[in-house]
Symmetry: C2
Subunit: 208 residues, 2 copies
Amino acid sequence: MTLPHFSTKDRILYAAEELFAQQGFASTSLRQVTSRADVNIAAVNYHFGSKENLVNEVFRRRMDDMSRERLAALQRAVEAHPGQLEPILAAFVEPALAMAQDRHGGGAFIRVIARAYAESNDSLRKFLSDQYGHVPREFAKALVGCVPGLGKEDLYWRLDFLSGALTYAMADFGLIKRPAGVSEANHRQRAAKALIRFAAAGFQADAS
Amino acid sequence: MTLPHFSTKDRILYAAEELFAQQGFASTSLRQVTSRADVNIAAVNYHFGSKENLVNEVFRRRMDDMSRERLAALQRAVEAHPGQLEPILAAFVEPALAMAQDRHGGGAFIRVIARAYAESNDSLRKFLSDQYGHVPREFAKALVGCVPGLGKEDLYWRLDFLSGALTYAMADFGLIKRPAGVSEANHRQRAAKALIRFAAAGFQADAS
DNA sequence: GTCTATAGACGGATAGAC
DNA sequence: GTCTATCCGTCTATAGAC
């Protein structure tokens, strides 16, 4: 996939994203990236300075969009359906779904996120927490009003369960394999819908 | 951590497990492993043959136990509480909890599992699927009878959600940080309990 | 901005002495 | 079983021509 109408820098980003998704950060070499992007090996250091910085840029590009969309969707959900649980959960899940269906490698990015949680050494982890930690906190605030009687500790646990389930399912780690007759978009759509329903019931369970 | 009363082979396994948990497989070098285990660099290839085989052995040592315990707990749950959902979920969750609380590094292993989902290249993935894929399938069979009206597709989705949430929570990837006054064992115990309750409600939700 | 060439470090694996 | 020494490949990063 050479994408000749994109700049060298963008071609590197796309190629890196796909390879990181397939192999992880550590086992992806800059040589693989530049070979797939069809650019010279030296271009990475010219445009990004270092491999670590390339990793951060791959993240920033997608994560900024997804976080912005999640927060916007949250605001719309709270205004349009005050006190309702499922719209808030949808505001959390659906931007991830949309990302996974994006044409230009967004599907790969969901797997990149999944890897980041597992693979992150402290530097990447700190980067993620500093830059995007406010997003789940905003959702927690909104959810407090929807599930009366749910303590803060249980609320936070359940948000973590939702994140884990979302990451795992969108990254196709589980048992479920897409059936031959179902398109990838359709498959993910059904996953998102199933997850929202599952989580809505879970959030409404009596506190433990 | 030198553990002088363990054999060279075991010291390598313990050291590898901890480093894999912290850094992942690809970014952990055999030199780091042997240095931490305080054994000679050549010992890895003498005892394990290759790095890939060392990775497999790290898994086998813990996974055999955990799978056996899950299946045994499943059988006990089905016999003692036929048709009940929560005991089956507990049989899935609690062996992971026990592993996470194990004295000799089992806690690290939970994070190794989380990494494996994300990082496994095809060889590790195939190894895990071949060796341990029957476990979630047994749970799926048992769950069919507990949630009448739930289609197979939704059942499998929900099992995947449970696995994701479990892995994520036990590996401490989420928002929740253990409060200062709570012991690690107690913290995980509460997580497991919260997860079982969350998932039980989720499994009983109407199909989507 | 893009290339070639290479420096310099580190990786897994092995040979062979003890 | 354990060691030293080493082979050989790959990696990131950079210098310098164009």
